[in-house]
Symmetry: C2
């Protein structure tokens, strides 16, 4: 089925641009261990090769699944039986770092951590960060509009993108380069492609905004009696730390217990029954380094927090974040599970969590949870396991979760996207006119459904 396309690409572009199915098979395509079926991988070396390859795919109506670092969580790489994989792993050059104008120009295959390091080497910072920094690529982060640990202060990936180069389904190179922070010259087309999960075009290059490196980073773990207290803590911490605050994370007690169960060494805080918060601030040298401790101490003295730990070193700080990011512990302890990434008004988070607990445990008494998230960004992650048959109840459990979230004016995907996993619920909370306009735009840019068919906004045909 792929033979003709692969032969044409081999002949016209180069033989080593196609990884044979037998060489590709078994690569992991999801962090939960899902493996790639035996499918060829197309690996262009540059934008022109990609454009040519997509032209060939379009001519043969052979669809492609773009792959970044394979760290997605919504089945974005799942195969429907007819696509080629498309990897930009050979397009991994950091083309330039401009320290004066604070712009990085990178190819889409660059791994996040390499970009962070290059920015740091130039005395600057690239303020997008998440647990999968060692694998996630710029192209994937842009195409999924990733969130992560610093979105609270710096915004999601969308806010870091100044300009893009994109190749459309027909093989047209769309040059939307821009290095300016402000550019009001017509429609800002790059926003169409950011978060479109590769269904409108393949991101091949980006100009990204860099920020000053700040010396004064402080991190604290706090235990509060219940979620209701967290709103008062948020207001107090923000009034004290203001713009310095870069993260405001929440963890329910079962999450803390699971994430620390097999951890060696001293824990930041003991396992207890309250809600755990993780704050981080980044400040300039004008803020007294002790001001963070003073602000934290005030929370304790005023009885708002029950217990608190402040990172005394970079190692402490990494230990704290390692707990927050310990997805392995969840996989080890809760598998099989379903992971939900939702947005909720903070005023309704606790009610939603309680109602879901009641509904799910009433129906499946052995239900276990791991609940945590970026509270400062309205964003909760809810991991649910009802036991060995969790996956076979995916539709039922998802209906319960997404119904609650939608009724409370939240949304069914905060930062992970729709992919294939959430497609059955995609229309929830959306108007038919909005969905119709999305489909119109999709048809304009990819009339033959070459790019990631059956994902994001498009039911499997």
């Amino acid at each position: 089925m792929w033979t003709t396309v692969c032969e044409t690409i081999s002949k016209q572009i180069g033989k080593d641009r196609i990884v044979r199915p037998e060489d590709a098979e078994g690569r992991l395509i999801s962090v939960t261990g899902e493996a790639m079926p035996p499918v060829p991988i197309l690996r262009p070396r540059d934008t022109e090769e990609l454009a040519k390859a997509l032209e060939i795919c379009s001519a043969h109506k052979t669809p492609v699944i773009p792959m970044g670092g394979s760290t997605g969580l919504v089945g974005g790489l799942r195969h429907t039986g007819k696509e080629l994989y498309l990897s930009l792993e050979l397009m991994n050059q950091i083309e330039s770092i401009d320290p004066v104008n604070r712009v990085a120009t990178v190819q889409a295959g660059v791994v996040l951590q390499n970009l962070q390091q290059a920015a740091e080497d130039a005395g600057l910072s690239f303020p997008m960060d998440l647990g999968s920094r060692g694998s996630a690529t710029v192209g994937g982060l842009i195409s999924t509009n990733a969130g992560g640990e610093k979105a609270f202060r710096f915004g999601m990936m969308r806010e870091q993108v100044l300009g893009l180069e994109v190749v459309t389904a027909s093989g047209q190179i769309l040059d939307l380069s821009n290095s300016m922070i402000k550019n009001n010259t017509g429609y800002d087309l790059k926003h169409l492609f950011i978060g479109a999960e590769g269904t409108l075009g393949i991101v091949t290059r980006a100009q990204l905004r860099l920020r000053p490196h700040l010396a004064n980073v402080n991190t604290a773990f706090a235990l509060i009696p219940d979620f209701a207290s967290s709103l008062e803590v948020r207001n107090r911490v923000e009034a004290a730390l203001g713009n310095d605050l870069t993260a405001f994370e929440v963890m329910w007690p079962e999450f803390y217990e699971i994430a620390t169960r097999h951890r060696t060494g001293r824990l930041p805080l003991p396992v207890a029954s309250g809600i755990y918060l993780l704050f981080e601030s980044e400040a300039g040298t004008a803020r007294d380094p002790e001001a963070f401790e003073t602000a934290m101490a005030a929370l304790y003295q005023d009885g708002l927090v029950e217990d608190m730990a402040i990172a005394a070193s970079e190692a402490d700080r990494w230990d704290m974040w390692a707990i927050r990011n310990d997805i392995d512990a969840i996989i080890r302890n809760l598998s099989p599970f379903l992971a939900f990434d939702v947005s909720l008004p903070v005023s309704k988070m606790e009610l939603c969590v309680q109602e879901l607990e009641t509904t799910l445990t009433t129906r499946w008494p052995k239900t276990r949870f791991a609940r945590f998230g970026h509270m400062g960004d309205n964003n909760l992650h809810i991991v649910v396991s009802i036991g060995q048959d969790t996956i076979s109840h995916k539709a039922d459990i998802s209906n319960i979760v997404y119904d609650r979230v939608t009724v409370m004016n939240g949304c069914i995907s905060a930062e992970h996207g729709i992919g294939m996993d959430k497609l059955p619920w995609f229309e929830m909370g959306k108007t038919s006119s909005a969905i119709s306009l999305m489909q119109t735009i999709r048809n304009v840019l990819d009339p033959d459904s070459i790019l990631n068919p059956g994902k994001t906004i498009e039911p499997v045909g």
Copy 2:
């Protein structure tokens, strides 16, 4: 020419929804004194009325020019002889302020200052600010993606918008409501309409993100010897103030002289020949109030700045910003003039300014300038007067400015938009594929060019 449409609207919607030409004539449509021609103004009371009215206009192929607070600077309200004006001045309700979830839901006709006040009354802040805050409306700010004084920290208007309601040319209501900070559920369509200058749809309602109010605001004026020093000052100020820094403004000496010439009372700094900078920071209570002064004093002690004034009161602060925002002084002293709003890499700002000065004064020896801008955002405003015949040389002068800016990888509009004034230069720095995609999207959403024809991306037919 409008008679049938106006009669139909009067009959089907209400007689007082049309302001007669004779009652509208003479209203100012630009801050430089341009007056409205005798054209009827359509004033719907709600979204449904607007939808109905646009359906009628579409049926009769009568185009409309949407108007906000009439504070635009690129001829966005200029008439081509066939349009009705469309004002949302009756749709000016702040529908809700949610202080816990920090969302304001407002109609598009709300004036910025009223929204700022409502946010403040709720103990929060709406961090979009600009000199025309008393007239500019939310709909206009969104449709032009306004920048202003705090974009350096909080981003442009785009970054404040969570959700939108839009009416398209055919009268369809497109509900893109959203109150979540993170929402990765399909294409983020709102970005199509933000900055589209009303050519893709009329923004009727918005959910806007509110921020915590911060108590610790500090402002300083500094005099530095030359522009080259400003980069070192930027790096030093950012290293000290970090995320607290909300504004980093630059003024050339002739601007400072013009803006202070008729000012009574003591000036922050004397008139001199160097470059003036205006910084502002907003911090939480954890930052020592004296830390700002200490950071500023360090700049002085290290010889980076020649003179400096720190606002000792809110009145001082307003005086400083009044100088920066004194557009009246420019109008009084430089008219007739051309005002350019451009983006430039900071590394090339000085070279560009110098080259333009040489080129323009060589050709027109009486050329006078007023140059200032949001340096921290790459954004310069360059006001040029070559004398009484300035306007008749608009094309020549504009060609010189925009050529330089484009060669230096800047762009011809940073925050003001394209409107009608910049349309002849719209294609500069853009690829034909990008322009073509803009036109395709325009054709999808407004096939009969009902909305703001001959503006933004569309040559006059």
